[in-house]
């Protein structure tokens, strides 16, 4: 049944609608693909029984004529989304056996529209990481492998990126038709670029954060990963929507995003931020960026050079803001009401031992940074300073968007790298997010579209950045890039 797993979400929905196959058949094919791909370590929990029960219910709904827009579509869910009655761990031992008694709003929206859950996807612990190596469940392996020794080390296992590495790997390996993911500094877009998939981080506030394990609340935003721009648009439509349970949820209408894909982009003005031409960027990425510019020109866009002068300060500002928020958010894991408890000599000792045993190294490191920058005497020098720089970064975008409709940049400064290559150097790892993190600080929508392969045969992505709430234009542009790039490469199955 490999043909059923190779379908796009759109063609699968068409096939279900014209009764070419049932959701049970479609789901069974995906369940088998998931079981056969355990070498990728993309899933931390498989829920085949639940998937088939949901598929059966979907077929019944379709038979009675009330199928929803995603009815019967098997999806993977990042293990950061609380799923009622299904273990949710954020890939951390501190909540390693946590079973939520409630459903996140984003996943509830997907089930409302008929989607089927295949299981929970691996990720960096608490979404902190760019390579999926901080997961307590072990790293995810990228289904892509380098063709030659150059750029990737032959057949050495590569990272799918992070933090949504399980989502990226599962979508690229055709284990699911699409997946949920989250993006705090690039965690949807960088893994999308590393795996030849499409990822969208919508405007902050489009997707409810309710029931999504919190990392940095002013930056966290959910979004979809899929194999085509249209599929991502379909998932995004379902995931978004106002939610009174999230006080930063935007009370705005969610458009049907899919029709934006394929719309003409003629006359749109595209900004090329000169500060994104960083030192040591591989020539292939620079060339791909030039190619993307040429494609959009051919599609009728006007190319304008713009300046975002504070770009280089985005990552350092992020590494104050995000750890500060994380240190506060993760204070809740104290071993009292849920999660891991390691008994100590007294209450404080119990807290300290529980948290030492439950959190991974990178999570502890970020909690420590956050605690330090918020501690007495440093708050103004670090935290307040970072919030002011954040404002200047957002102002840069505001000024650019007075002149252009969207921006085009590379998604990541390299192709997928080897597992273990950067795990000893936190700052080198953080630099992965150099092109993506600005968007989170400003709360803007961004998406990554696969645009080509490097010399080693590994996928590279281009990033589009839009005005707040203008995902529609991004999707039209993403569709134009997808069409021009005609990216059809798939990873050779080895798993």
């Amino acid at each position: 049944m490999s043909a059923l797993t190779s379908l796009t979400l759109k063609s699968a929905m068409d096939g279900l609608a014209d009764k070419s196959f049932s959701s049970v058949e479609l789901t069974q094919a995906h369940v088998e693909a998931v079981e056969a791909a355990r070498g990728l370590n993309a899933f931390v929990l498989e829920t085949p029984d639940k998937a088939l029960a949901m598929a059966q219910a979907s077929d019944a709904r379709r038979a009675s004529g009330d199928a929803g827009p995603l009815d019967g579509a098997p999806l993977g869910i990042k293990d950061l989304f609380c799923t009622k009655g299904v273990r949710t761990t954020a890939a951390s031992k501190i909540i390693g056996d946590f079973v939520p008694t409630y459903e996140s709003t984003v996943t509830a929206n997907l089930w409302r529209d008929g989607a089927v859950m295949l299981g929970k996807l691996n990720m960096d612990q608490f979404a902190m990481g760019s390579s999926n190596e901080t997961s307590c469940w072990g790293p995810v392996v990228n289904p892509w492998r380098a063709r030659t020794a150059e750029g990737g080390g032959g057949n050495a296992p590569l990272t799918p990126g992070g933090s949504s590495g399980g989502s990226a790997s599962a979508v690229a390996a055709e284990l699911c038709l699409g997946a949920t993911a989250t993006d705090t500094g690039g965690s949807i877009r960088q893994p999308a670029a590393f795996t030849g998939t499409v990822g969208i981080k919508p405007t902050y506030g489009r997707c409810s954060r309710w029931g999504v394990v919190a990392f940095a609340s002013s930056l966290d935003q959910a979004g979809p990963m899929a194999r085509t721009v249209e599929d991502a648009a379909m998932l995004l439509t379902s995931m978004c929507g106002y939610d009174p349970k999230d006080s930063t949820s935007l009370n705005v209408e969610t458009p049907d995003f899919a029709p934006f894909v394929g719309k003409s982009v003629k006359g749109l003005r595209i900004g090329i931020p000169k500060e994104y031409r960083v030192d040591n960027m591989p020539a292939e990425i620079d060339a791909l960026w030039e190619q993307g510019i040429a494609w959009l020109k051919e599609a009728g866009c006007e190319i304008v050079e713009v300046s975002l002068p504070h770009t280089k300060y985005a990552l350092p500002a992020y590494y104050i803001v995000a750890p500060a928020e994380a240190s506060s958010n993760l204070a809740r894991y104290d071993g009292m009401r849920y999660g891991l408890r390691v008994e100590g000599a007294n209450l404080t000792d119990t807290y300290e031992k529980s948290r030492a045993a439950g959190f991974g190294t990178e999570v502890k490191r970020r909690i420590m940074i956050g605690t330090y920058v918020l501690s007495a005497g440093y708050y103004d020098a670090y935290y307040l300073k970072a919030l002011k720089v954040r404002r200047r970064i957002a102002d840069d975008f505001d000024q650019a968007f007075e002149r252009v409709d969207a921006l085009l940049t590379p998604t990541a400064p390299s192709a997928a790298f080897g597992l273990g290559d950067k795990s000893d150097d936190p700052v080198a790892m953080y630099l992965n997010d150099i092109f993506t993190v600005t968007v989170n600080l400003a709360g803007l929508p961004g998406m990554s579209v696969p645009a080509g392969l490097d010399a080693a045969g590994l996928p590279l992505g281009l990033q589009l950045i839009g005005r707040a709430l203008d995902e529609g234009t991004l999707l039209s542009l993403g569709g134009a890039l997808e069409k021009a790039a005609d990216f059809r490469a798939k990873p050779q199955k080895w798993w």
């Binding site: 204070a331 009401r337 408890r341 008994e343 948290r355 959190f359 300073k385 404002r391």
Partner: protein, 95 residues
């Protein structure tokens, strides 16, 4: 500003994370590396800039002060590491 071992010990205590004494020096090195990289923020002129505390331009929403959900102790306690009846069991807090 360099972070010494004493500062790391203090921050670990504030963060309620037990850090074995022998790891403090390495941790101090890592934190210093990260903070040195962050220092470049001082190059940015932020005089008179309003700190950005939220990514959305809207006032905090208000709602009626009413109980919306509740009354289900089983749900609340279902993940408790230690419980007795309808109560959480926690270490002794008052001597």
């Amino acid at each position: 500003m360099t972070i010494d071992v004493a500062t790391v010990r203090k921050v670990a205590r504030l963060a309620r994370i037990a850090q074995p004494e022998e790891t403090l020096e390495k941790l101090a090195g890592e934190l210093n590396g990260i903070m040195a990289w962050i220092e470049q923020l001082n190059e940015v002129d932020t005089d008179g800039v309003e700190p950005m505390t939220s990514a959305v331009h809207m006032p905090a929403p208000m709602r009626e002060d009413l109980v919306t959900e509740g009354g289900d102790p089983e749900m609340v306690l279902s993940n408790a590491p230690k419980r007795a009846g309808a109560f959480f069991v926690v270490p002794k807090v008052i001597e």
